[in-house]
C-alpha cells in the first residue's frame, strides 16, 4: 500500500488562487504546490465567482486560465483589477493557446503580463510564482 504523507504548510506559506474551468487541472496544481509546503492553494472552476472568492481567500497571487467557457481570463482579470480589494493581487495567465516559441519558453512576459504556457511542470510553476511575487512586493 502506498502512503501519502500530507505535508502542512509553512507559517509564511504564500496563498495561491488557481482559476481554471478544468477541475482536474486545478486539483493537480493544488496537489503539487501544496506538496512543497510553500503554498496554500484555493481552486476555483467557475470563473464568474473570481472576485468573490478572491476577496474571501485574499490570495498573494492568482493563476488564471485564459480560455474558459463562462467568462474568459481577460474579463476576469479586468474585474479583479477594477476592485480595490483585489486590484493589487498579481496575476499569472496560464494558457495552452500560445505560440510554439512561447511554449518553449514556458514562463514569459507579453504586453506587461506574465504568462505560463501549458503544459507546465511543477518547477516552472513554482519558479514563476516566486519570480512574480518577488517583483510585486
Amino acid at each position: 500500500m502506498i502512503k501519502f504523507h500530507k505535508s502542512s504548510p509553512h507559517k509564511d506559506a504564500k496563498r495561491v488562487l488557481v482559476i481554471d474551468d478544468e477541475p482536474t487541472f486545478t486539483r493537480m496544481v493544488k496537489l503539487n504546490l501544496e506538496g512543497t509546503s510553500n503554498y496554500i492553494v484555493e481552486t476555483l472552476n467557475e470563473s464568474r465567482r473570481a472576485v468573490e472568492v478572491a476577496k474571501e481567500f485574499t490570495p498573494d497571487i492568482i493563476l488564471l486560465d485564459v480560455v474558459m467557457p463562462e467568462m474568459d481570463g481577460g474579463d476576469v482579470a479586468l474585474n479583479l483589477r477594477n476592485r480595490s480589494a483585489t486590484k493589487d493581487i498579481p496575476i499569472i495567465f496560464v494558457s495552452a493557446m500560445v505560440s510554439l516559441q512561447e511554449s518553449k519558453k514556458g514562463f514569459y512576459q507579453s504586453g506587461g503580463e506574465h504568462f505560463l504556457a501549458k503544459p507546465v511542470d511543477k518547477e516552472t510553476l513554482c519558479g514563476a510564482i516566486e519570480t512574480v511575487l518577488s517583483t510585486s512586493q
Partner: protein, 630 residues
C-alpha cells in the same frame, strides 16, 4: 727600225687593202703608217676603212709634201698624224709614231668614257639636266627630253619658267641660285612640280654645283625621279593608317593585338582603361600578368594559346576579371589569330566590350528574382501550412490541457512514491510517455508554424555529417556501412540549413529503402570549376552556372539495385514511388528537388558506372563574398 728615242719597232708590210681587211688590226699592230703616194682613191678608201674600225691603232699618213696632204682634206680628221717625207729629219719618224700611238690610245679611252656616260644619260629613267648660271638648260638627257620636251622643239636655252608654273619654277630657280652661291648640294628634295595647265607630279630631286676644269662655277646639274605613284601609294597608306588609327582609337570597344608570347603590341584607349592602366606606354610590351592575378592571367593566357595553336577564333566570350585594385570587370571578348603574309600565326587580335554595367544589373535582377522566388516559396509554404497549422493549433490546445493534468499528476506521484520500485518505474514510464506526447505536440506546432527561408553561407560537409549522425541508428538497423569522403577544400554554400538537412534526410532514407539487405552508402564532396560551356555540358548546367563559377559537388551513392530507365526519368516526379504503398508518399525526391532548385542548384539521379546502385549528384554554387552574387 732604229728609233731616235732608242725604242724598237717591228715592222710588217701589207701591200693591199684587201690583205689589211683580212686582219684584226689591233691584234697585229699599234700603228699603221700609210704611204699616200700610191694614189688618192686607194689611200682614201684605206683611211676610211681604218677610221670605221674605231680601234686603238694609230693611223699616220706619209705624204710627199703639204700639197699632197691637202688633197685628203675631207678625211684628214681620221688621221692621228702625218709625216711629210721631204722634210723628215733623222729620228723624227719613230718619235712621231710613238706620240701618235699614245694619242690614239688616249682618244680611244675618252671615247669609251663618253660612250658610257652617254649610255647612262640615255638609259636612266630619271630626268638629268645641266644648267648654266642663269638656270638655262645646257644639256638634258633623253628621259628629260621625252617627258618635259614634249611641247618644245628643244629644251636647250629654256628655263623652268618655260616648263612649269611659277610656283615650282620660282622655287627651283631659288634653289639653284643658292647652290651656285654656296656650292652646297641639294640632296633628295621632295618637289611638287606644278605644270602650267595645273597638273602636277611629285619628284625627288638632287642638284649639285657644276664647275669647269678650273673649278669655276658654271651652273648646276641635277637628277629628278618621278615618285608620283610612290607618293600616291604612301599617301593612301597614310590615309588608311589614319583611318585605322581613328577607328581603333575611337571604337566603343577595347581593341588589342598581342604577339605569340602574350605581349601587347597594339592597344587602344579603352582597352588601356579596361586593364586599369593610364597610358599606352604602360601596356605595350606588357602581358596579362602585369594587370591581373596569377590565376586569372593563367586562365586567359591558356585560352589565348588555344586560339593561336588551333588557329580558331572565339566570339563573344564572357570574361569575368578582377583588376589588381580589386575592381571587377566583365568583358564580352572576341579574338582571332593574327597571321603574317605567309599565313603563319604571329599573335592574336581581340576586341572587348565592357558589359560590367549590364552584368551588375543582371546580378541585381537575379537577386531580385531570387528574393521573389524565395518569397513565392514562402507564400506557397505558408498557404499550404495555414490550414494544417490552424488545425494543429486547435488540436494542440485541446490535448495540452488534459496532458498537463496527467503530467502534473505523474509529477506529484513521482515526488511522493518512494517504494516499491516497480510502482516507481511505472510512474517514471508514464512521465516519459507524457514527455513524448508533449514532444509530438511541439513537433506538430513546429511543423505548422510558418518557416522563413533563411539563406546563409554554411559548410555542406558539416551538414552532411550532422544528418548522417542523426540517422546513424537507421543505418545500423539496416546494416548499412557509411563512407564519408568529404573534401577539405569544400567552399561554403548559401543555404537554408533546415531545408538542406531535409534534402539529405530524404536522400539517405531513399538509400536505406533500396538497401534493405545492407550495403554501403557513400557520401562524397568535391569542388569543381565551370570551365566551358561546350557541348559536353548540359544545358541545365549552362543555365545555372557561369564560366569560372566554383561549384560544390555532392554525390550520394548507394549499392542498391540501381534504377530502371523509367525510374531514371520519373524519379523526381511528385508521387512517383517505387516503395510499397504505405512505405512512402512519393513526395520525398520531388520535395528534394524543389529545395535544391530553391538553392539554384541542380540534382541528378543516375545509375553508378562502377557498381550496381544509384548515384545522386548535387551541384551547388559556392558562395562568393558578395551576398548578391549569383
Amino acid at each position: 727600225m732604229d728609233t731616235g728615242t732608242g725604242g724598237q719597232y717591228t715592222i710588217r708590210h701589207v701591200e693591199t687593202l684587201d690583205k689589211l681587211r683580212s686582219f684584226n688590226l689591233e691584234s697585229i699592230c699599234d700603228a699603221i703608217l700609210l704611204d699616200m703616194r700610191f694614189g688618192r682613191d686607194y689611200s682614201l678608201e684605206t683611211i676610211r676603212y681604218i677610221g670605221e674600225q674605231q680601234v686603238g691603232v694609230a693611223l699616220i699618213a706619209l705624204c710627199r709634201d703639204h700639197e699632197q696632204l691637202q688633197r685628203y682634206k675631207e678625211e684628214i680628221h681620221l688621221l692621228d698624224d702625218y709625216i711629210l717625207a721631204e722634210r723628215l729629219v733623222d729620228g723624227e719618224l719613230s718619235t712621231r709614231i710613238t706620240h701618235a700611238i699614245r694619242r690614239r690610245l688616249k682618244e680611244q679611252e675618252l671615247l669609251r668614257d663618253k660612250t658610257l656616260l652617254q649610255s647612262l644619260l640615255d638609259n636612266v629613267p630619271d630626268a638629268i639636266f645641266f644648267k648654266d648660271r642663269d638656270s638655262r638648260f645646257t644639256k638634258v638627257n633623253r628621259t628629260m627630253d621625252t617627258i618635259y620636251g614634249k611641247y618644245h622643239k628643244s629644251l636647250i636655252g629654256k628655263t623652268d619658267f618655260d616648263l612649269f608654273a611659277d610656283e615650282h619654277a620660282r622655287a627651283a630657280y631659288n634653289d639653284e641660285q643658292e647652290i651656285i652661291r654656296t656650292g652646297e648640294s641639294m640632296i633628295g628634295k621632295l618637289e611638287k612640280e606644278t605644270f602650267q595647265d595645273g597638273h602636277f607630279k611629285w619628284v625627288n630631286t638632287t642638284k649639285v654645283a657644276l664647275k669647269d676644269n678650273q673649278g669655276r662655277m658654271i651652273g648646276t646639274m641635277g637628277i629628278s625621279r618621278n615618285i608620283t605613284e610612290l607618293k600616291k601609294a604612301q599617301d593612301t597608306l597614310a590615309q588608311e593608317r589614319t583611318l585605322l588609327k581613328t577607328i581603333i582609337e575611337h571604337a566603343l570597344a577595347g581593341i588589342f593585338v598581342k604577339d605569340l608570347t602574350g605581349r601587347y603590341l597594339v592597344v587602344n584607349r579603352r582597352h588601356i582603361k579596361y586593364l586599369g592602366a593610364q597610358t599606352e606606354a604602360d601596356v605595350i610590351g606588357k602581358t596579362l600578368y602585369d594587370f591581373f592575378g596569377h590565376e586569372e592571367a593563367d586562365r586567359i593566357s591558356e585560352a589565348d594559346q588555344t586560339i593561336m595553336e588551333s588557329d580558331q577564333g572565339i566570339e563573344n566570350m564572357v570574361d569575368h576579371r578582377h583588376r589588381a585594385d580589386g575592381s571587377e570587370l566583365w568583358l564580352l571578348t572576341s579574338k582571332v589569330p593574327l597571321r603574317d603574309d605567309s599565313d603563319r600565326c604571329i599573335g592574336l587580335v581581340g576586341i572587348s566590350l565592357d558589359v560590367t554595367e549590364q552584368k551588375l544589373n543582371e546580378r541585381k535582377l537575379k537577386s531580385t528574382i531570387q528574393t521573389l522566388e524565395e518569397t513565392k516559396l514562402q507564400l506557397i509554404e505558408a498557404e499550404k501550412l495555414k490550414t494544417v497549422g490552424r488545425l494543429a493549433a486547435g488540436v494542440a490546445h485541446e490535448v495540452k490541457n488534459p496532458l498537463n493534468v496527467v503530467s502534473l499528476g505523474v509529477e506529484y506521484l513521482e515526488s511522493h512514491i518512494e517504494e516499491p520500485e516497480e510502482l516507481l518505474q511505472i510512474v517514471r514510464d508514464m512521465s516519459e510517455a507524457v514527455k513524448k506526447a508533449n514532444d509530438v505536440i511541439f513537433e506538430l506546432l513546429d511543423y505548422s508554424s510558418p518557416h522563413k527561408v533563411k539563406m546563409e553561407p554554411a559548410n555542406i560537409n558539416e551538414l552532411i555529417s550532422h544528418v548522417l549522425c542523426l540517422m546513424r541508428h537507421n543505418f545500423n538497423e539496416a546494416g548499412i556501412q557509411v563512407e564519408e569522403l568529404l573534401s577539405d577544400d569544400t567552399k561554403p554554400v548559401r543555404m537554408d540549413a533546415p531545408k538542406m538537412e531535409q534534402v539529405f534526410i530524404n536522400l539517405y532514407l531513399n538509400a536505406i529503402s533500396v538497401m534493405k539487405k545492407g550495403g554501403t552508402l557513400t557520401v562524397r564532396t568535391e569542388m569543381m570549376r565551370m570551365k566551358s560551356t561546350g557541348s559536353n555540358v548540359s544545358s541545365a548546367m549552362t543555365e545555372l552556372f557561369r564560366i569560372g563559377d566554383e561549384i560544390v559537388v555532392v554525390e550520394v551513392l548507394d549499392t542498391g539495385t540501381g534504377l530502371s530507365q523509367e525510374e531514371e526519368r520519373k524519379a523526381f516526379d511528385p508521387f512517383y514511388s517505387t516503395k510499397a504503398t504505405g512505405e512512402g508518399t512519393g513526395l520525398g525526391l520531388s520535395v528534394t528537388r524543389s529545395i535544391v532548385e530553391m538553392h539554384h542548384g541542380m540534382i541528378t539521379l543516375k545509375n553508378r558506372n562502377d557498381t550496381p546502385g544509384a548515384c545522386v549528384r548535387l551541384l551547388l554554387s559556392a558562395s562568393t563574398n558578395n551576398t548578391d552574387d549569383d
